[in-house]
Amino acid sequence: MVKQDYRTCIVLTLPIILLLVFLVYPVMSVIISGLVSASGSSFVDTISSDETQFTISFTVIQASLSTILAVLVGVPGAMLLARLKFRGKSLIRALIIVPFVLPPIVVVIGFLQMFGSYGIIDTALMSITQSTTSIFNLAEGFTGIILAHTFYNAPLVMLLVSAAMERLNPEIEESAEILGADSFSRFRRITLPHILPALLASAILTFLFCFMSFPIVLALGGSTYNTIEIQMWNAFRTPDRGGEVSSLALIQIVITISLAITYIKLSRGTDNQSGPTTTIHTVSISKYKKWEKVAILTYLFSILILVGGPIAAIFRAAFFDPVTQRYSLDGFSYLITLGSEGGIQPLINSLFYGGMATLLAVTIGIPLAYSHRSKARGLSTLSSVMILLPLGISSITVAYGLLIAIAVPTGLNINPWPIIVIAQTIFGVPFTARAIEIGLKNIDPNILDQADSLGSSRLQRLLYVELPLLIPSILVGAVFAFAMAIGEMSATLFIALPQNYTLAVAIYDNLGVRRFVEAGASALILVVICVVAFLAMEKLSEGSIGGTL
């Protein structure tokens, strides 16, 4: 028995040790070495410069505005998704998450093609007004950044909030209705308090993602608008500014970690509410009043343009070459071309790194979830810190740390694919660990007792009882981790040599040299892979995506 405990202890602490070695140590060494050997500006210089202060305030302002907009757009959708009864709901639900898991660089393409100058809307308006020059461009500067962030995060709000709403006990609403509450007061007194924790959690998560946003601001913001992440990347790329990189990383980590802690606290609060079995009372659209129908349809139409538009634009971008103004299949022939000029190598790399990272993220996520639920207080706190750390540390910091502290000393920079897998694993762990933790919580303890009394060993119980019960949660976490890995660009670009380029990096690469259809076709493939993965997962796990985040 003592031996068993000892083994369990090793298994439970192993992921924490791994994260200490591959996440905490590299990041700390970046920060400390930069601050101590301060080449360039010191921490005080950095934080007191006009540039940094403008960057910080812009980062906060854009993240707040994006969050507000994402919530405003997302909540009605969440209510419809939970309340409305219609065919193909699970398909819609799987599709809604697509923007969130799309690689940011793909979002940029879709966004420019839809809302940018000479994009779909602009072209249409130009032909209506007979104008020869661009008259409509929402994809640039401040507006572009906010809109793209809304597109990105509104689906997140929709899913998290609708998941919470679906657990609303219909009896409470019925009682209220019988007692004469109108629909507005029902919303204010019953629905809102019920979804508030999920709403706040999704708002914080949205804020966090917008706060650390990199490729979108980089591509749409020009050089005027910088987030902390971008200023850090800029400082890295300018020789002799190591001190600034470290100072900015420190500032960013302090802010994001406090947000991440708040988020975890809030999402804990939601845990103990109504069980997963209750489901909200659903209605079909024909039950609504006429003006309500109009409002719903208007909303759906705007969502279709804001969220569906950029995705449709990616589809167009895969075939339509804006340079020659012709439709072509070059993008797809690129995808089946071997060698360094073709897309097969990046595609294989994407799948292999993504697959490996997912496997690792699940393998690490399972014991991490167990130790999070363990009764040993220190272990539980430590593991929850480890789960949220990757959410709060920017991918650039992680990549820089891994390169300096792990790749170069071990000589892995010659062929750095294991480093890329490690980086992608780190970004996937929060998703797997959290999904599995939720799954664990929902396991009926009686089943485990039965397994014990039937004489199964700990390993047997884990393999034949707990893991099969956890499979839906593992799948949910795995698909999220996979989507994160396959769409990851910043860290991969940072670490990779050309033979390690993934499809996401290849898109960036092709965009840079104006091979638009090649970029578009690669983006389309990524979209298809993500959608297929989510549909498969949705089928197998019966719609428990919302609880994951």
């Binding site: 080449s39 360039g40 410069s49 006009d50 540039e51 403008f54 100058s117 000479y118 020059t133 661009s134 980089l218 020009g222 050089s223 005027t224 800029n234 890295f236 790329r237 300018t238 020789p239 002799d240 804006p322 360094s340 000029e341 292999f352 490996m356 496997l359 820089y400 390169l403 300096i404 170069v408 000393p409 000589g411 920079n413 010659i414 062929n415 694919w417 009394s453 039937l454 004489g455 060993s457 390993l459 047997q460 884990l462 393999l463 034949y464 670009l493 040599l497 050309p498 033979q499 380029y501 990096v505 960036y508 690469d509 840079g512 040299v513 104006r514």
Partner: protein, 385 residues
């Protein structure tokens, strides 16, 4: 005890006997190890001769860069029986230096191509390079050696003149006569400033060349505080991250007429169109002559390179006519071997003897000492509010 046995019996009859979980885990582990190992072996990085360069190097011709590099360097590979691995980093030259710095403890690159006459002034750049004086230097004009690096951390490879260009489809010297003798004051007018696309001097070498040109002109000719010009144009001028982004913006947006680019662009335009070019040059005009900035790009030996002797031979080979003659039509720069005949479209380019060189107004020491301060001042001037 009896009850326990009965339970056991129940289990045996109702459920199939489970296999040993350790076996299953073992099989899964073996499969994963096999997959990973085979991927690892397939992509195993054989020790090779590595050349770092930036994206778009030699990639502006009719063929892809790979074919051009293969043709130019095949004789070298044959002679030394090696494969050259051109690692084309998807970045600018600055990031290349940052990467070399990050790898300084254990470098994998032997040679780096594409560091220019300003970047070499930074200590971080010289820290990752090893001086090497090639015997082939006798073949090239000393001007380029001195303009790039008299200390021989870098050997000149190619050069270009950074200047303003405009598209003749949208404006011309009739609509805008000031294009013929352009000054900074002309550019600062809202009309021209809002039609100008340039590059961020922190990350782009033409962008930095433009900033230094502007500083040199302010110090030498107008006597104004140079930051005031940027404060005037801030909000109107379009600063893109790099040359490629700027080019895309300039060529696709019809309201953008002017671009900070190279004096060879009319030649490129003529080559693409097969006719006379639709792109023209508007160099700065002060005190009766046209001015442009000269950018010289070099090839350097990486400090502690794995194959230093090969690297030196490679640097020598870069000045060979086989390599140098690929530069004009693929890199759209001038080869530093001025004894080679240029393609006929180069008649449309401006040549170094047709302009005065702005570099002569700012000496290397002054740039090296002030570059960081200037960039900080530039950022301050361009930060809104």
């Amino acid at each position: 005890m009896f009850a326990w046995n009965e339970l056991r019996g129940f289990e045996m009859t109702e459920y199939p006997v489970r296999r040993n979980p350790k076996k299953i885990l073992g099989v899964v582990a073996i499969i994963i190890i096999l997959v990973v190992a085979s991927y690892g072996i397939l992509t195993f990085w054989k020790p090779r001769f590595v050349v770092y360069t930036y994206s778009s190097f030699m990639d502006w011709g009719d063929e892809r860069a790979e074919a051009v590099l293969e043709r130019a360097f095949a004789p070298f590979e044959e002679k030394y029986e090696i494969d050259i691995d051109f690692v084309i980093l998807q970045t600018d030259a600055n990031t290349m230096v940052s990467r070399l710095n990050a790898e300084a403890a254990n470098p994998i690159a032997d040679v780096v191509i594409g560091i220019d006459n300003i970047l070499i002034l930074q200590e971080a750049t010289r820290n990752v390079l090893e001086p090497y004086e090639s015997p082939m230097l006798s073949l090239i004009n000393e001007t380029y050696i001195n303009a790039l690096d008299p200390e021989h951390y870098l050997t000149p490879f190619d050069f270009g003149l950074v200047t303003l260009i405009y598209s003749m489809d949208t404006i011309n010297t009739t609509t805008h006569p000031q294009l013929d003798n352009l000054t900074l004051a002309d550019l600062a007018t809202p009309e021209l400033a809002s039609s100008l696309v340039t590059e961020d001097p922190r990350f782009s070498s033409p962008g930095l060349a433009f900033l230094l040109s502007q500083i040199a002109i302010s110090e030498e000719f107008t006597g104004e505080n140079w930051t005031e010009w940027w404060e005037t144009v801030q909000g109107n001028i379009d600063v893109k991250e790099g040359w490629t982004e700027a080019w895309i913006d300039w060529s696709s947006d019809q309201n953008k007429h002017l671009l900070v680019s190279y004096g060879t662009d009319p030649a490129y335009s003529a080559q693409e169109l097969g006719t006379a070019p639709d792109t023209a040059i508007a160099p700065f005009h002060y005190e009766g002559s046209d001015w442009a900035w000269m950018q010289v790009e070099g090839v350097g030996l990486v400090k502690n390179a794995p194959h230093p002797d090969l690297a030196k031979a490679f640097i020598d080979y870069c000045l060979n006519a086989t390599v140098q003659s690929e530069i004009p039509l693929n890199q759209w720069m001038f080869p530093v071997r001025t004894d080679l005949t240029l393609p006929s479209v180069y008649d449309y380019a401006i040549h170094p003897d047709e302009v005065s060189i702005l570099n002569t107004l700012l000496d290397r020491v002054e740039i090296a000492e002030n570059l960081q301060t200037w960039l900080d001042l530039y950022i301050d001037a361009m930060t809104p509010g």
